[in-house]
């Protein structure tokens, strides 16, 4: 797995390949969060630099490279927007469990990502909408409720239903 290998060897040619694959996606994600182009470019560079600097923290058995990159990009953006650090959980002692879905190689990850993309496209529109508003617009439950003019409880039940379906897809059960 390329990222895990880079973490050990510190091979810059691997870094270049990872950069070329992930940096455009990270920048596109940050732009979707509402950043101006120049800021998105800057935050992307910082996130990609963190991929190098923090690579020793990447645990290939626990998450896929794209999942880890997602958390780096998310934290970089939120920290910049809020001017304070997004609270992160500590995970030194995660119990390995048999239904752990995250320990996957790059090939499996690509298949998994396609499955999730397909599953999102098949969600009822009102569920897909809350997924996008949460992930790409950073909207809280109350903000979504206000914008869609629906009760808070409806927003939360749509998110629950969407999350449940997407997790079943990740586990390959649907």
């Amino acid at each position: 797995m390329m990222l895990a290998e880079m973490a050990v060897t510190k091979d810059k040619s691997l870094y270049v390949q990872l950069y070329q694959h992930f940096a455009p996606k990270v920048k596109a994600y940050i732009i979707r969060l509402g950043m101006m182009e120049a800021t998105a470019e800057e935050l992307t560079q910082e996130a990609m630099l963190n991929m190098w600097r923090k690579s020793h923290l990447f645990q290939p058995g626990k998450s896929a490279a794209s999942t880890w990159l997602f958390t780096l990009a998310r934290n970089q953006s939120i920290d910049w927007m809020r001017k304070q650090k997004y609270p992160e959980y500590s995970w030194d002692d995660i119990q390995e469990s048999s239904d752990d879905v995250s320990g996957v190689d790059a090939g499996e990850q690509a298949v998994q990502s396609e499955r999730v993309a397909l599953a999102i496209s098949q969600l009822p529109e009102n569920q897909a909408q809350v997924v996008y508003m949460s992930f790409y617009e950073g909207c809280s439950h109350s903000e979504i409720a206000e914008r869609l003019k629906v009760p808070l409880g409806s927003v939360k039940s749509r998110i629950r239903l969407a999350a449940e379906k997407l997790k079943l897809t990740l586990r390959g059960e649907q």
Binding site: P24, R32, E88, S102, S113
Partner: protein, 223 residues
């Protein structure tokens, strides 16, 4: 530690998406740090984030990276790393016997004993952990036998028990449990046991007190 009350799926999803308020994200991070069940759920939800990132096609011109972006980053790879504080992700689940989960220690230090509590009423103390645009994020310390005023909510309320126990109409909560409620719920908590109950509480909008006394005290208490 036996944890019986966990996070609502909708709360967990928004935490991973990065769309929770700072205070609510802090309560989630603290609970997840000490709860293996919710840690597994968060990892799974992060995989959804990874898949979303992986699925982004950047065909828009403004989303393309500038040509010298890679060069600039490569030039910085060998730079001395700025000195960083220890990463939360590699610290232990509780950083002291005082039951301060690692993410909370960034805000209050390592001990619940050194907090400068503000007195709200006899047996009731609070400490504001961080400032919120809407809602609150505070530690509450309540003496055994006391009960909180009955209240409902306009938004979400998250409470993590750090010490002691309490019960309300929905259940009995002990250390590590999280109480995740919203505008569908009205409740009144009664502090049990024989020690102070200390909890970390965050809301994303003001509480709705259901008694006249609560309404009178609301501006004073800051809830």
């Amino acid at each position: 530690m036996k944890i019986n009350h966990h996070l609502d799926e909708a709360t967990l999803f928004s935490y991973v998406a990065g769309s929770l308020s700072q205070g609510m994200a802090l309560v989630v991070a603290c609970h997840v740090s000490i709860c293996d069940t919710c840690k597994g759920r968060v990892l799974e939800t992060e995989s959804i984030g990874g898949a979303l990132l992986d699925g982004i096609a950047s065909d828009n011109i403004s989303e393309q990276l500038s040509e010298d972006g890679l060069k600039q980053v490569l030039a910085r790879l060998d730079e001395e790393e700025p000195e960083v504080l220890p990463d939360n992700k590699i610290t232990s689940r509780f950083i002291s016997r005082d039951d301060v989960p690692a993410p909370l220690s960034d805000y209050i230090g390592n001990s619940l004993e050194s907090i400068h509590w503000m007195r709200l009423a006899p047996g009731f103390f609070y400490y504001d952990v961080c400032k919120e645009r809407q809602g609150i994020c505070r530690l509450l310390k309540v003496a055994p036998g006391k009960s909180l005023l009955p209240h409902g909510h306009q938004g979400n309320e998250l409470t993590l028990l750090l010490r002691g126990s309490y019960e309300d109409e929905m259940g009995h909560y002990t250390q590590g449990d999280v109480v995740d409620v919203d505008d569908q719920v009205e409740h009144q908590a009664l502090i049990g046991g024989d020690e102070d109950c200390i909890c970390l509480l965050a809301t994303d909008s003001p509480l709705r007190f259901t008694t006249l006394l609560g309404k009178i005290l609301q501006p004073i208490s800051g809830f």
